[in-house]
Symmetry: C2
Subunit: 326 residues, 2 copies
Amino acid sequence: MHYGKMVDSHENASRMDHMYAAITTSGQHEMLEPEDNGIALIEQVHDHGYIEFLRTTWARWSTMGKTDPLIPATWATGSFGGEHAGGQSNSIPALIGRYSFAADAPLTAGTWQAAYTGAQSAITAQRLVSAGGRAAFALTRPPGHHAHKDLCGGYCFLNNAAIAAQGFRADGKKVAIIDIDFHHGNGTQDIFYDSSDVLTQSLHGDPDTCFPFYLGFESETGTGEGRGYNQNFAMPLGTGYSDWVVSLNKACERATAFGAEALVIPLGVDAHENDPISGFKLTTEDFGSAAKVLASLNLPTVITMEGGYDMESLGKNVATFINSFS
Amino acid sequence: MHYGKMVDSHENASRMDHMYAAITTSGQHEMLEPEDNGIALIEQVHDHGYIEFLRTTWARWSTMGKTDPLIPATWATGSFGGEHAGGQSNSIPALIGRYSFAADAPLTAGTWQAAYTGAQSAITAQRLVSAGGRAAFALTRPPGHHAHKDLCGGYCFLNNAAIAAQGFRADGKKVAIIDIDFHHGNGTQDIFYDSSDVLTQSLHGDPDTCFPFYLGFESETGTGEGRGYNQNFAMPLGTGYSDWVVSLNKACERATAFGAEALVIPLGVDAHENDPISGFKLTTEDFGSAAKVLASLNLPTVITMEGGYDMESLGKNVATFINSFS
């Protein structure tokens, strides 16, 4: 569901084929399957009821004879389903409306397996880096950075970047997250909004005109102990690299000032000039330049794959970033 | 959008043809066009920003070259768009997601005119009754009882029943609302939830399994000054008239004990046994019996048209109710 029309999802399996092929072609990288490290770290980031919803609902839906993707059509917003709600329906339409903020993240037969395995990929990457690796890339889909503690949306279900950051946190390390996907990393922001040991930063299209619309404004700086530990760089449609990198440099300076001991990069390449659902003007080469800026922080780094929907440039953009990060 | 599939709307223009034909056939009723009494009473019930959204958005959407119905796909729910949102986007996807709780109430070219004229029909009915009439029926579509102060959904945009009740309130009268649509009158409940001079009551399918899912539980009884002035009768799927009328009688007793000086009946006939999207077992004759029970309160009464989607019985059900109310 994209702006009220049913379309083939921009976030689809062919993305992985393009990215995987481009990365392996370079021959520079050790390719590993993710280990299964279980649910514990995921449970530290996401709400238990939400996880159970993701894990069990498709089977319930199938039992009812349904085969279509499950898309929310009623949701608990504003005064509806708020403080005056007297009960909590366990029906499937109620649950998906309670645990979603967008209609572009339908549950399908493979959703839980893909999201769970993606999270394991992020955990595996974090463990490799925690054990002394320079950097690891969790080549995941679906992406994760839009997923809140208890909300899916924006093609995201489990927040892989937040799960990796939580892994560093469990190691006692201060973590900086610098999200360069075109869209605001609202889920990551939300998960660590009251935390002072995770500095969340995001470079993205101004939510005044860009998804996810309700979060990503520069005035959002954290709450409670987390005040001052969230920074948004909201930029207008049409922004090119020369302006964009000014924000990236600022984000890196803040990460250094923060005393980050580890870095997580939610890597979206939808800031590319040809992306069909975004609006920045970065070129393939610019992703290489961005990688060098981020690598210069010289921190143990986990990179998670987020958006990027121009099939022509997707693989090249990702490989250029990964090949340039050293 | 119905449970994640795009379908032809159950709430469509042919409903009016069926209802109008059945009512005029009886020859019992004086048929009047609504007067235009302006926006003032509507503004007493609905949020100004919401009204402006309904009134102006289609023109903006058209200016962008769009012709498809405008359906929300991202919405401000839970921690998303809540207390930590730093800004307020005026973009169309942001606005429709802020002002909707369901995907079944798309904006189309005629939405505002239909909703506004429907509200005028309710106001005209209220004025006729206020001037001494026994009862008047606002034969409206779209329906209204799901519309909150600032949310559309459930095919509803402006809450005609609440607007009629507000008219009585402006006359200094205590108003009882008894909603007999199959679905909970969540909007009407919400609008008067903190009011002690409007007693809102609704007979409906248990929200544990029925739309609107998040409101309509029996534990919702009002807040602040309104505590004790909201009553829900949530009944299981399959409920027939003999059980249903027990709730109706209780609602009438409460209206009498409350000292109601006027009555508003949001009339849905989707409690009919053949309704395609509901689940009670009332017959056409049962709507005549229900009308007699409600008429026995002997209060100045405005009836607003709400749901009912079985085209075969719709006209008969409505005409039977209206013809029996005396």
